[in-house]
Amino acid sequence: MTTTENQTVPAQQARGESPEAADGKPDEQAPDEVADTEVIDDPEDESDEAELESADVHAEEDFGAQEDLGTRDGFSPDDEVVDEPDGPDTVPLARRRPDDRQPYRELGLQDDEYAKIRDILGRRPTQSELLMYSIMWSEHCSYKSSKVHLRQFAEKAVPSDRLLAGIGENAGVVKLSDDLAVTFKIESHNHPSFVEPYQGAATGVGGIVRDILAMGARPIAVMDPLRFGAPDHPDTSRVLPGIVGGVGGYGNCLGLPNIGGELVFDPCYQGNPLLNALCVGVLPVGGLQNKAATGPGNSVILLGAKTGRDGIGGASVLASATFGSGSEARRPSVQVGDPFAEKLLIEVCLEIYRADLVVGIQDLGAAGIACAVTETSAAAGTGMAINLDTVPLREPSMLPHEILASESQERMLLIVTPDKEHTVLAIAERWGVPATKIGEVTDTGRVVIEWHGQTVVDVPPASLADDGPVYARPMREPNDLPLMRADRAETLPRPTTGDELRETLLKLVASPNLCDKSWVTEQYDRYVLGNTVLAQPEDAGVLRIDEESGLGVALSVDGNGRYSRLDPYAGAQLALAEAYRNVAATGATPVAVTNCLNFGSPEDPQVMWQFAEAVRGLADGCVELGIPVTGGNVSFYNQTGAVAINPTPVVGVLGILDDVAERLPMGLRNEGDVLVLLGD
């Protein structure tokens, strides 16, 4: 649907609870084939179970609330049905005209999903509500196909006393010392980067940076694992310079050093390049922020750029489907990044954190305001009253559903107590960043949104944020796998003479996947902030965090789609092992894992099998190494027509160095040093 992928994994989703499960209802989509595969093994330890139980209670509460709503909001058949001219759909209208045809399929919702929405609301959704559900319940916002697998990360996670926040938050947070913590995460922005490489990549970096910022951290570095098609394909010369330019253009302008990444060419990425971006940030241990909109009466403040018609693909479906105006040009689903605005946004947020002025904060990514207001109120179990007329717009003619779904970049949602509102607005003003109160936290348990004096949205927020559909999709080992596996490397001719060896070596050195990467890395600033201890061409980036003690972190991102194609379970573990080794080789102790899972369509059972295997492999590998997965991102539908990319789990590992002065660079240092080969 929408092409933005910077969403977060709500706690419940990542743990894999689903309302269906809590309710004891069988999953309607339960596939026959899933039974044949041994995907979901659940070695739950006691602490995890406790967590699950409390979450179940939460889910039940939500259901109770929904039943009440049913009666409260149920439309009465006696209501007068009035034909009104085309215009924004309102809640009263939805009650009066229950049978309006709605373009839910065009918005990507299934019949049963639409029925569930009507059930939750006790009426048909308004246009705005329909759009909100369609986006929030989409694959990339709701993780509906991946949830059941991702919960292994939490279930199998080895306990760690360093973890201040794990899966379910915007990003995992790792304690470095009594005072300092770091947070890091990878995200994808694959599809937009194909459509408009420069802006797609730029806004991909912008999105992950805001995730890190939302945790209370100052972003301090980025990394960019990239995948492209064949180097000599004409379209690669459009996509590659654009993506690299966008990563550099945005990151450099934000003042974030780029400390590593990957550059891989393979024809399978021709129509579907991968732009994954990692950001790492540092925060005081006591400065962790969260997204819960607690405290009825608190102000809801929109901070940052004006809202425009960016990335609202869904809104254009509504426009053409319900207003029947075929003339309405399809809105571009591409957003343009403004790194300068983001730089200012960062400074404002950090100043606000330092003065302890916010109760809750959330970045705006996919589904913009719709997502931020429902996620923040769902996280707190509160409600919200929002007035869309107060939202600063780039185009005054925007309709309510467009305002709600807009993916305009460089915005944050703040929850602030009324006594601090003035100070927050003053700080924003000092940096020249727009900040506007758009509503209040309420105790109603409903998000109610008004536009031009009419109620256009009235929903229980958890139904969008947490209680989306969950699928255990059918899975099947790819047909061609046995054949591929039978075609073993041992059967290839080996170089036997010196000349042949020379030939092989030259071939390797010249191959685009192994050759010098400086054409790319030179476009990135690795010096800014003055704490980069290692960056390219090293295997891991190393950052100094504390100038006095020398405390620092090492980071590496790795992945290998070809290995994963042959064996996704082992492929994910190899990616993990490589990143772990790269970090360890600097002298750092690896402590935490993030990941970005780039796969084809989850509706293809063979892709779903690859996905399940990769997740299982990564989760098991983390148990083996004794470090937890703290967060990540799933990107499905990476395919051209029916052909999926190689399954590409990209794994990031973070390690700690007590003193970065002790780091080990990879170059040979002194003449006479002894070389030792470790392992086999």
Binding site: E196, Q199, G308, R331, V334, V336, D338, R394, S408, Q409
Partner: protein, 81 residues
């Protein structure tokens, strides 16, 4: 020799950070009364022979503008600039 001018502007609904930065700077120069500033590209293509509008259009479409976010116009230079 003939000159064709291609103007490439961001579509009206697309954010223009450059224009915005300039608009915000104007009050500091003592300039008021400006409602908005948009910044795009002006491209001058000099043909050896006659001005070839179709060719220029093709160049604009393939190389100079990304139709996803930008609109362009093509015209023979009338010496306006």
């Amino acid at each position: 020799m003939a000159r064709v001018v291609v103007d490439v502007m961001l579509k009206p609904e697309i954010l223009d950070p450059q224009g915005q930065a300039v608009a915000n700077a104007l009050p500091r120069l003592g300039v008021s009364g400006v409602e908005s500033v948009r910044i795009g590209k002006r491209i001058e293509i000099d043909f050896a022979g006659d001005a070839d509008l179709d060719r220029a259009r093709e160049i604009a479409d393939k190389l100079l503008a990304n139709p996803v976010i930008e609109d362009f116009t093509v015209r023979v230079s009338d010496g306006d600039a």
